[in-house]
Symmetry: D2
Subunit: 283 residues, 4 copies
């Protein structure tokens, strides 16, 4: 784990905020490695991400920074880089995204992650989970009447495992509005289309019917409205009339894997801030 | 102009059709340069494009081919490559697509085209048209009540000019269902989004609001339903939270120019066949 | 396995060859599904690929086709689609390409392949091989003096396994000119650069030094001259000044996996023909 | 013209520099709009770009900032955004890049530019220059003996026009080492290949011979060594065996136009800093 710290800020745009924050970090002995900022042109909200080598310990820094933050009405958080982030992965029958994420995790490609739970409504992910040394929970699709209960059990497991991020690796179940609200900006979904085109079910079939010449994949934070959350990353790939729906599915798998991994990596690096329906991605 | 001929065929899929067509061309002394085919998996319709150096003249070839075509219920057409295609371009206030097409035409980048008419509801295209030596017709936006009359006048001009292809180079006016039907598969529109996302008005504003990470452009044949015709070509380009709507517009212009020119070139080479809501593009 | 057959032809370009081949297939009762052709403009060599549903059995077809082929000086081969292709994979310490290929194979993404041997100069591939049920051969890097002997042993294993295709999945050892000649057009290598840029060792370091804004991966048939064989597939991805060499390595892994898999799939579908230093890829 | 100011800094990496610079700008009454920074991992050089709305006038700001800069051994410059940049364009027989740049300039796509001189060794650019209202200088290719003299005359014209940036829009003449040195980091060239592949003459022919599956374009600062300067932007596009050299040239034109325009726009926005053989591009 890297020993850097990351400071994330959102506040009303105002003169002097960059200087105030940079000075606070410097005054605490910190050496700024990266600084990114953005002002949303509509809301006039200011977003900032600083990565720095800290000298002070976490609580001293937070104590020193709190009054500066208060004076400027900042929403802020700081992450000390030596704490891994606890990640849960939910999957279904198709495991290409799950196996890809696990491969990356095991090969150092998801720095800062610790996979603490894998759960699926099919059992197909179990072998992959076990090979990666991560606990697997199998929750077969419940009767409609038992859905709420099943989600509550899932949430209990997530909390028990101390999950900080939930990755929906082609998890085909719809999460309740309440769940999405409680885990706001902490659930990343991969949808297998170029959103907002082809939201909902069977996007590759929809794409084939419409005769598009590119297909896409979109990684976004899950919200109560299906496939409508803030988009983190999107990719497209060319297709042609020669491609059947099955070809779209196959080509799409590569898009989905890479797009989801990109979004998860950005989140783990604290490079994604949510600004209404949009994301600020400091890549 | 190249001296090659192009034979385009659509018929029910059946054994022996490739051999029958290839033999017919060979028997007429033709030398096949390119042969492409496709069978739509749903409709079982067969599509073929042959490009060949002909020996026979056009009418002899057609007379010899007609019985073969009839026996297999073919819809077919043949184009002798030494006849340029008469192209009309409709534009509006924004001229980036018009100027791009004219530049390509003058620089040999649209082989087989002859621009015979340019019409616009703003006068901004006139100077470009005149510099390119093409006649310009200015038709200011009419009162709602006069729209039908204006379209009729436009259609009269197109017919008078002998237009075989109409390119909507960011022509922002909606064409009537009747017009679209009469000019079916001969009107190419460029829509400034990745269809079917953001059909209709102000797609860059819609894209900005939704916070997409890629924008797109789609060239398609115009049909009665707006932005719903068979897609010929699509492209996307990455954008970020730093991009304003104006940045999307600027980036999009480059996408639009290249995507429209690609679709027009494919059409001029007789490489696009329409199959229901989809296109077969033999590129 | 699909029950289709594939006929691959190379011969001098001449009038009537498409008709002759298509008729031969039809006369044998075959139903042509796909037909692609290409004439190299320099060498005037003609290349063709036909995929068809055969009615005759293989030997009858070959007997009937041989005189047609002889008359036109064709180099040709036909593959009956119900025979899987025997594939060997060679790897080294880095296993991202190996694990990706095995994942695809197990998930039906490499139709027509049977992995019959995996060999590596490190032991890191063993667990992956065993999980996939493929035999693993470990051959540690030999003293320079024993290299020829080791290659001979490897070749013996490949022959014993009946390998028809050898995939170098980031196999970092140079194969001898003799080996490359004997396995001509049957060894696919992935090089981690956009060839011909950065051939040879440490291409990501070279790319970093040069300050390129895109990195690439190239899949090609191995020839006696290092990284100089006919290219089958290439891809690029954007990078920036923020990327360290390690970032290029990480981004590059995704390019390598997808580019190699694409080339292997095209080869398995008999869609790649070699034309001097270039390939004809009927995709 | 925007009324923002841009401050560009290069100095040894050290603790507190971000805070010092941000405070200096704030103390002068400036409102920071964008701040980007980068530390080269090899040289430990620190690069920074700040865009701000100034309150002080230029000379007051410079007077206040000079001691801060001196204390940290900064190379720095500040550009007040209301001064347009004087741009010269050199071209040759092919005018696709010239016409594209002029179109962009006239349509507000190159904010901050003023085209003050166009020069070419063919006369083909004259009509374009005149239509755009820019002076054109025709300098036919000289005898080898007169080359130095001709370059001197060109340089005299550039100086007379007050050119701050020279764009080589497919200018096929080699500039002397002395010229490149005097105009260091102020001459942008477009090379029609994916550098470092196919440097030098006839890159599309080289690409065709090699059988690559992607072609590229590279915009870079010109240096004494041909096609070896720091790269600003690169793009690639897919090609296939069907493409002749002429097809590569045509496809390449679109790449060249967009890649060169992107590099020029980035330079005009002061977003490109040179770090040895590499560029830092704050896009």
């Amino acid at each position: 784990m890297s020993a850097t710290a990351r400071l994330l800020i959102e506040c009303p745009d105002a003169r002097g905020v960059v200087a105030a924050v940079a000075s606070a970090v410097s005054d605490s002995g910190g050496n700024i490695l990266e600084a990114d900022q953005h002002t949303d042109p509509d809301s006039r909200r200011f977003f900032m991400r600083l990565e720095f080598e800290p000298e002070a310990d976490r609580s001293s820094f937070e104590a020193a920074f709190a009054p500066i933050a208060e004076a400027r009405q900042m929403a802020w958080r700081v992450r000390w880089g030596d704490t891994p982030r606890r990640v849960a992965i939910l999957c279904s029958r198709e495991t290409h995204c799950l196996s890809d994420l696990l491969w990356r995790w095991q090969n150092g490609d998801l720095p800062g992650a610790e996979v603490v739970l894998i759960a699926g409504n099919h059992d197909t992910g179990r072998a992959l989970a076990e090979a990666a040394g991560a606990p697997f929970h199998h929750a077969p699709i419940a009767h409609q009447s038992a859905k709420a209960e099943q989600e509550a059990e899932l949430e209990r497991l997530l909390n028990e495992a101390g999950a900080e991020l939930v990755v929906l690796a082609r998890y085909m179940q719809v999460l309740s509005a309440g769940f999405c609200e409680r885990w706001r900006d902490r659930v990343i979904n991969i949808h297998h289309s170029f959103l907002p085109a082809f939201a909902g079910a069977r996007p590759y079939h929809q794409a084939f019917e419409r005769g598009v010449k590119l297909i896409g994949a979109s990684a976004h934070y899950a919200t109560a409205e299906l496939d409508d959350g803030p988009i983190i990353a999107q990719r497209t790939a060319p297709v042609s009339h020669r491609d059947t729906v099955q070809d779209l599915v196959r080509t799409g798998r590569d898009l989905e894997r890479v797009t989801l991994a990109e979004a998860v990596r950005l989140h783990l690096q604290d490079k994604v801030l949510v600004s209404g329906r949009r994301t600020v991605v400091f890549d």
